[in-house]
Point group: C2
Chain length 249, copies 2
Amino acid sequence: MAKSKYDVIYKDLKRKIETDEFVYQELLPSENLLIQTYNCSRNTVRRAIGRLVADGYVQSLQGKGVRNIYRPIEQSAFTLGEIESFRESALRNGQIPKTKVLLFVEMSVDERLSNCCGFPLGSEIYYIQRLHYLDGIPLIINHNYFLKEFTHGLTKEIAEESIYEYLEQILHMTIVNSRRIMTVEKITEIDEKCLKLNAEDYNCMAVVSSFTYNSQGVMFEYTQSRHHPNYFRFHDNAVRTQTYNKKYV
Amino acid sequence: MAKSKYDVIYKDLKRKIETDEFVYQELLPSENLLIQTYNCSRNTVRRAIGRLVADGYVQSLQGKGVRNIYRPIEQSAFTLGEIESFRESALRNGQIPKTKVLLFVEMSVDERLSNCCGFPLGSEIYYIQRLHYLDGIPLIINHNYFLKEFTHGLTKEIAEESIYEYLEQILHMTIVNSRRIMTVEKITEIDEKCLKLNAEDYNCMAVVSSFTYNSQGVMFEYTQSRHHPNYFRFHDNAVRTQTYNKKYV
DNA sequence: TTTGAAAATTTGTTTAAACAAGTTTTTGTT
DNA sequence: AACAAAAACTTGTTTAAACAAATTTTCAAA
């Protein structure tokens, strides 16, 4: 697939950081050098670096340079700031994903559901319950609610593979962004049974609620992902915006 | 404080979105119009919009425009992608923060601590336990570990107010970025007592581990924030990077 | 009225240039 | 050798311009 120049540079720098081609705690080559290396303009190389900063791979220091502060993290972590299907995430980490469809029904939105997900009352939807395994261990129960209007033709078979692949490649839907809220909630009987949890041991779990939008600005998916507390791990990097005077060291 | 132009535009657009000056689901004024409004270049206005996209406030659609998809969220939520002290976050949400210092000691890093936080064995540190209240309710227990080398002169009194304010304004430290990991963990006796938790009710809690870096690339702070499960709420927005062919709505 | 091509409009990418601001190195003077 | 000023180098901000790509609008022909 044709890529943009800054994306190629971004990925190349990222790789060089991850493979220790750039030394930890050292400065990356200066913008001027990178411009020569990649034969591009300053803006383009700065755009790539900007993404590395957001990723927490480097920190950029006026007058000094760009310092590599990347440290490898443990596997199996879900990284924030990206929309990935379970399948994509697992494959990225070299793990073996398996998905079992517990429930696949068509229904319309009642008041309770409308309140928690925001779909209009009476909307026609697909409701899918899926259990996700990683390397044979049941880790996540997903409750997916898809607006039928935008996801025609979903089947149980598709749900066993990858729904996003179907939406993007077959229906040519453009998935734009996803708002997520993480909370801790009590486990239910379903959680207990499916994830082999023991309330004596863990009576809570991590819950990620996602609200996903297409290019029409419509929220077409609401998903509640209920994670085994022992395996849940979310990563994030925050950049401090200078509130006061900078200066020093 | 002197601000950059794009930051002024960003904040102004953000305000106009939050106050419904721009209609939900409608397109914002085109870049050309914004250029006239703010009397700036296209790059500058695009930089501001880029931040709104990252915030999940708008979605930007080639050939169409920039659509307002902002929905107000409940208060008391901690938003990812920013480094904020408890105090800053509370004040931003118009809540009354209170902090009680449970423990303030100077110590050196032992093997157990070195393993979980990454400080070199034997480093001199401040170890601070603080209980944070919001509107009178105890919500968070923080275990802060600061490298003494970079945070000289910390006192219990400062810890009762704002440590970050001290580091930035008095020591003129530049805090750059913070890596965070969210997990769910068993509650301890301290948690149970301080947060008035009941193991029958909740035997787990949300834990946010932060690794914070200064402008020298040194991780000078490790903090474990243990949140009351009932009040913990983390927000995030993810932008889908097109994996396949776009095309269509 | 419908269809389809052309034009206009919108966002996306890339280059170039200038100046500001912070840090490091060099240089010259004492 | 020590100090201070100057120069060089680094990232940060802003403007300008050109072209690409996607969508919407216009308009002419059927």
